[in-house]
Amino acid sequence: MSTIAVIDYGMGNLHSVAKALEHVQPGVEVLVTSDPKQVANADRVLLPGVGAIRDCMAEIYKQGVDKEVAEAIRSGRPFLGICVGYQALMQSSEENGGVDCLGEFEGTVNYFGDHHKDEQGERLKVPHMGWNEVMQSGEHPLWQGIESGSRFYFVHSYYVKAAQRQQVAATCSYGVDFDVALGHDNVFAVQFHPEKSHTAGLQLLKNFLNWDGKP
């Protein structure tokens, strides 16, 4: 039986992602856990997260999640980061006056700004909340069965800019073009919430559960 560890470090609602995983693959064992042993023994690992990055990183270090994440990534097992769990994999974030993150991907997390505008000068609300088009940058097993341009559900005020462009798996546009999915070896990470993104989101989770961790 395949097991997936959803790392619980006290940040956010993990019920949704667990329910969505159980929905796309009935019988999958979803462990919402902070136990390093369970994370180490799971076939796949998922790092979620919502809220402020400073609080997330503080909990990640306090609970030793940084070591669990590093070990999971080095082990070659399929790894998925979602939302703040995606941002936490970058080098640093501008949020909360500047916070160092895990540095699994080169690049930064930046603020949309208080006076964010589109190309026509129309004001754009922050957070970027709702359904936006995700443009795939190339082929990846996690995009199987999902058309480029499909809409996913977002809610965030900070966006990722990756330094290694070959790692970018998808981009999105909201006043600025930014990176909403990164892939490298056995790691895939997304800014949007697949567990709340209806058919396309469920397909991505299904692809993750079927993924062997090879790009």
Binding site: A20, E22, P127
Partner: protein, 257 residues
């Protein structure tokens, strides 16, 4: 290519059933909330809002189970409102599977609750619901006041100033219901919708008074709403979600199809 304007069907739930009053009276039964939510999910609704109008403790327990059932079958964002007064209430609803909670009268009674909630759970899941009624008369500058208790109790608070204060305290979204319009189907109060949308940086959901699809378009174009909420036009099959989206798209509004 842009962020889509959202269409949000709202389910008023009492003792586990969907109801929708006309001007908060004359309640009609519209079914099991989970079945209704699934129907909207299949039709392409962008989110679902449950408003619990139950007064009793037993009814609240029923609501938690309703949210749990919904969350294991419907994979779009779910907001739950009605009777959210403490951080424990929020924790209960988020654990049951809600993505956001909507705080209404508790914000008026204790504005600091909004700050505490946003700090603990993040602004992304804190919606502040504002029930506003126009209090200025013809010839005076426009003024809208906050009302509580289903529109019966005036608070003396200016709606636009109140919305700004709520956002400063950490509200991630504003659900604005124009009370004088609610259930009478004359459309949203576009004046207050626009005034609040211009005054704050977070998304605004327009609510109250939708009778036809043009009202949804007006809410976005004239009211500058980021999302439009409606109940009875969808519950009683006057219009479907795809019809609403097709209509909005024809009028140049970006929607998720």
């Amino acid at each position: 290519m842009a962020l889509a304007k959202r269409i949000i069907p709202c389910l008023d739930v009492e003792n586990g059933r969907v109801v929708k009053g006309v001007q908060f009276l004359d309640i009609r039964d519209a079914g099991d909330p989970v079945e209704v939510a699934k129907r909207y999910d299949e039709q392409g609704a962008d989110e679902i809002t449950f408003l619990d109008i139950t007064a009793t403790h037993e009814g609240r327990e029923t609501m938690v189970h309703t949210v749990e059932r919904m969350a294991s079958q419907v994979f779009i964002p779910l907001t739950v409102g009605g009777g959210i007064r403490t951080c424990d209430d929020i924790r209960t609803m988020l654990n049951a599977g809600a993505d956001k909670v909507s705080i209404n009268s508790a914000a008026v009674t204790n504005p600091d609750f909004v700050r505490q909630a946003a700090e603990r759970f993040g602004s992304q899941c804190i919606v502040v619901a504002i029930d506003a009624k126009k209090v200025s008369v013809e010839g005076e500058p426009n003024k809208w006041e906050i009302f509580t208790h289903g529109g019966r109790k005036p608070t003396g608070l200016d709606a636009v100033e109140w919305a700004k204060k709520m956002v400063d305290l950490g509200a991630g979204e504003i659900l604005l219901t124009s009370m004088d319009q609610d259930g009478v189907k004359n459309g949203y109060d576009l004046g207050v919708t626009r005034a609040i949308s211009d005054a704050v940086n977070v998304p605004i959901i327009a609510s109250g008074g939708v009778g036809n699809l043009e009202h949804l378009v007006d809410g976005v174009i004239q009211g500058k709403a980021d999302a439009v909420l409606a109940a009875s036009i969808f519950h009683f099959n006057e219009y479907s979600i795809p019809e609403a989206k097709a209509y909005m798209r024809e009028r140049g509004i970006e929607v998720r199809l």
